[in-house]
């Protein structure tokens, strides 16, 4: 059964395209306001130290300086206050602590104070005049070291040293499962801390008005989350804060947390002017949340038929300075692609003296999939089975239960594996010596969360769409296309606008691959309401009971009006039509992605060249296939950078020694080939068009696929990512 669509599945030009190719689109740092001044942040040079004294007097005395703030400027709040703005409970002290340190600094780059001045140069000069006396403390930089007895302790109040949280998922009988196995493989792999690497640095402008309202303009994945977090940090009601989301230059999960917004607000309150803060690239690396480094052990047993009989995993993720290392999703996804009866998973959330970590595209999952998918590669080789065939024999299906509880509804694991097997790439020979081909697959849940949308019909037959999802990669268009499909219009007949938090119903973050799914559902529902109201108008015009609507035409008893013709008559049939919907969908559909990659490893230099890549993903339904391919290609490129080269290179004192793009070295156009894509469509029953969401699962397979390809090219099973020349040559 396949549904035919008029708009869905086509590739219209995006609505914000002309603005973005002509330089007119306004990103956060582009904002200019009357009387606006600019700020700078002073950051800790120590990875771990007690703050003994902060003296801001010299900075305050510098001509051109309007305001200086430290953690002492936060309004008083009970020390044990807990806040929840939709992301789970967080102690206010750690939320504030990461924004402006008090008592101790916990990583090199930790914000300590901020200045607002006539321009950014004067602000930076003033920040350098702030005197801070530190008592340096020993630091600890990796999870295994932080878990060891005698490790320096970051938070004295924690019950279990640096282990902030532990989880355990258990299913079946592990010992019995391993007893049935005829082959058991166990490996331990480390991954380094890496950054999302969005090209636009964090920025925020705030104006704290004399009427008490705070207006924030910023680059955020979620205007409502930014509003709620800012309100929580400043201890003001949410209604006192209005967030206007500017265009956003990439986020990948890293622009959900707030760093600058509350600081800009505090500075503005003192200065009585709008204050703009923009991070430098080094600030972005050292002062925002990267994704955790990790150590993951995986042990898998199989029988002679290649059926997994038991699987066990132990995961320790580095949370950075404050808890929340994404070890939970890491643990939930470690065996998520497979149907396994006997499972034990233990995860540890470990604080270390590195920046507090944040989400990064399927957060936690690439780290754990690396271990599972390389162990399976080894098992396939030892059993003499094709690696995709081994996965097919164990693939998760509808009804498969994950160790953390849920049973899958319809899931596209088998379909993705079959598509990989059938792809031209998988069936092509390797080009020559020192080459290897690796495969891997991965799972990501995708998210639901609330979304809102309003549609207003214009007299010329077009429709305005008001929504609250910040558009990182074409979502104005994927949402407009869903409205157009329901209304029988063209994508370009819909005019989408992303508005501020005062102007639309609550809308969760652009994250969790949820926007096209969840906000799409809100748009779909609002569009259906529009159709119903328009039908009622036609019924009134024609004095009939029932009106049909199909392909953009209303009809009854041989009479018909197109959408535009009826829209022109709304004024005379009762007035304008506009409809809003707010949804909180439950029918989220998880996505499976797979990667095939060919590499060539130079035996002398250890350098890996990527020769050919094919990314395969279950989109459920691809609304705008070009932007679905774009997500797959982008996630694949990030995953390859993570696998082969990227890492936070920290010295023993916890200072990041490669905090620039030159030294951090993300993939350039020259490092990658074209990225072939295969979109698999196994519709999600929880969405009217079958959408699953495609932003994240694609970054899960590349780490393991690269490791497997390098093994096939070199015969070396590496136990550390990045698999850079030094790792490959064993230096």
């Amino acid at each position: 059964m396949s549904t035919t669509y008029n708009v869905i599945g086509t590739r219209p030009v995006r609505h914000d395209g002309a603005d973005k190719v002509t330089g007119r689109a306004l990103y956060g740092a582009d904002l200019q306001l009357a009387r606006m001044i600019q700020g700078a942040i002073l950051r800790s040079p120590h990875a771990h130290a007690r703050i003994l004294r902060i003296d801001t007097s010299k900075a305050e005395a510098l001509p051109g300086v309007y305001a200086v703030v430290t953690a002492a400027d936060f309004p008083p709040a009970p020390a044990d206050k807990i806040v929840d703005f939709g992301e789970g409970d967080t102690p206010l002290s750690s939320l504030r602590g990461n924004i402006l340190a008090s008592g101790k600094v916990l990583y090199s780059g930790h914000a300590v104070a901020a200045v607002a001045a006539v321009n950014a140069h004067v602000a930076a000069e003033a920040a350098a005049l702030i005197e801070v006396d530190y008592e340096p403390l020993p630091c600890v930089l990796t999870a295994p070291e932080a878990m060891a007895p005698g490790a320096p302790i970051l938070h004295e109040e924690f019950a279990n040293g640096n282990v902030a949280d532990q989880i355990r998922y258990e299913m079946g009988d592990l010992a019995a499962g391993f007893a049935q196995a005829t082959l058991i493989v166990e490996r331990e792999l480390d991954t380094a801390t890496v950054h999302q690497g969005y090209i636009e640095p964090q920025n925020a402008t705030a104006f704290w008005s004399s009427d008490g309202r705070i207006h924030i303009w910023c680059s955020t994945q979620g205007s409502f989350v930014a509003r709620d977090a800012t309100a929580a940090v400043l201890d003001v009601p949410v209604s006192q804060v209005k967030v206007t989301p500017m265009e956003i230059g990439g986020g990948f999960g890293g622009k959900i947390n707030v760093y600058l917004e509350p600081v800009a607000a505090l500075l503005s309150k003192k200065a009585g002017r709008p204050v703009k803060l923009v991070m430098s690239r080094r600030d972005v690396f050292t002062g925002t949340g990267p994704t955790p480094g990790s150590r993951v052990r995986v042990k898998i047993g199989v029988n002679d038929a290649g059926k997994i009989t038991a699987a066990q995993s132990w995961l320790a993720y580095e949370a950075g300075a404050y808890p929340g290392a994404m070890v939970v999703p890491g643990a939930m996804t470690v065996f998520a692609c497979y149907d396994i009866e006997n499972v034990l998973i233990e995860g540890f959330d470990v604080v270390v003296n590195k920046p507090s970590t944040a989400a990064y595209r399927a957060p936690g999952a690439p780290n754990s999939a690396l271990a599972t998918e390389t162990v399976l590669d080894e098992i396939a080789e030892k059993l003499g089975i094709d690696p995709l065939e081994l996965r097919l024999r164990n693939a998760a299906k509808e009804g498969t239960r994950r160790a953390d509880g849920p049973r899958y509804k319809r899931i596209g694991c088998v379909e993705v594996l079959e598509a990989m097997k059938a792809s031209p790439h998988y069936n092509a020979p390797l080009p020559g010596p020192h080459c290897g081909r690796g495969v891997a697959i991965g799972f990501w849940f995708n998210a639901g969360l609330p979304s809102s949308a309003t549609l207003s019909v214009n007299a010329d037959g077009t429709v305005n769409l008001i929504e609250g999802s910040t558009d990182i990669g074409g979502s104005r268009t994927s949402l407009s296309m869903q409205a157009a499909e329901v209304l029988g219009l063209r994508a370009e007949d819909i005019h989408p606008t992303v508005v501020d938090t005062d102007s639309v119903g609550y809308t969760g973050v652009t994250g969790g691959s949820r926007t096209t799914f969840s906000t799409g559902l809100a748009v779909h529902d609002a569009a259906q309401m529009v159709v119903e109201q328009m039908k009622a108008r036609a019924a009134r015009l024609w004095a009939v009971e029932a009106v049909e609507f199909a392909n953009g035409v209303f009809s009854a008893n041989g009479q018909s009006l197109t959408f535009a013709e009826l829209a022109a008559q709304l004024g005379s049939t009762g007035g304008p039509v506009s409809c809003s919907a707010t949804v909180n969908p439950k029918g989220v559909g998880g996505s499976i992605a797979g990667l095939i990659i060919d590499v060539k490893v130079d035996p002398e230099t250890g350098k890996t060249d990527v020769l050919r890549v094919t990314s395969v993903q279950d989109a459920g339904k691809a609304i705008h296939p070009a932007y679905v391919e774009g997500q797959m290609q982008g996630g694949t490129a990030q995953g390859i950078g993570w696998a082969l080269n990227e890492e936070y290179f920290m010295d023993n004192s916890g200072d990041m020694r490669n905090g620039s793009y030159l030294d951090y070295r993300m993939p350039t156009a020259l490092d990658l080939p074209m990225i072939e894509t295969v979109i698999v469509e196994v519709p999600n029953p929880g969405h009217p068009f079958g959408v699953r969401g495609v932003g994240e699962a694609n970054i899960v397979p590349p780490l393991a696929a690269c490791a497997n390809a390098i093994y096939r090219a070199t015969g070396k099973r590496l136990n550390r990512v990045p698999m850079n020349p030094a790792t490959i040559l064993g230096l």
């Binding site: 002509t22 969005y198 090209i199 290609q633 982008g634 350039t668």
Partner: protein, 166 residues
């Protein structure tokens, strides 16, 4: 704060005079002094390419050029690529090929690609990748950007040869 210097330039074919401090980069002058915010700052140290502009007959990362160095020079920014409301073939190709996701890198890529096509009207994939290697994009994996540049190259050469034939 130091005394400001007067700088005379031609920006996007129009004479522009501005005052800036000697320490201000050309990028800062374009964005904060002249108000042309289409050119973006991704790193401030010459390593992302989002601030790429044409200065005289070469392309530069404008974060590494001082505003005062632009005195007497002619500058092209992303705002100057289109002719009135008619998009440049590169701009059109970027839209048709979905070569941008967040779009923050796009102005830099467009200026760099324009310079590439002036030097190599029909670049190979390798030439295109090499030329654009100073421009980072974190969203697209470059695939659609490379395809868009090659499509624009074909479009420009076909239009030119059709024009010549007529």
């Amino acid at each position: 704060m130091s005394a400001k210097v007067q700088v005379q330039t031609t920006i996007n074919n129009e004479p522009v005079e501005f005052l800036c401090e000697p320490r201000q980069s050309l990028l800062e002058c374009l964005r904060d002094v002249v108000g042309l915010t289409g050119t973006k700052e991704g790193c401030g140290d010459g390593n992302c390419g989002s601030c790429t502009v044409k200065l005289g007959d070469r392309i530069v990362t404008s974060c590494l050029v001082l505003g005062v160095e632009a005195n007497g020079e002619s500058i092209t920014t992303v705002e100057g690529l289109a002719h009135g409301n008619t998009l440049h073939p590169l701009q059109k190709a970027f839209l048709e090929h979905a070569a941008l996701q967040c779009g923050i890198c796009t102005p830099g890529f467009l200026i760099a690609a324009d310079a590439l096509l002036q030097k190599h009207p029909q670049p190979t994939e390798e030439q295109t990748r090499f030329w654009l290697a100073n421009n980072l994009c974190r969203c697209t994996g470059y695939d659609k950007i490379i395809r868009a540049v090659q499509a624009a190259a074909t479009e420009i050469t076909t239009t030119k040869s059709n024009g010549a034939a007529q």
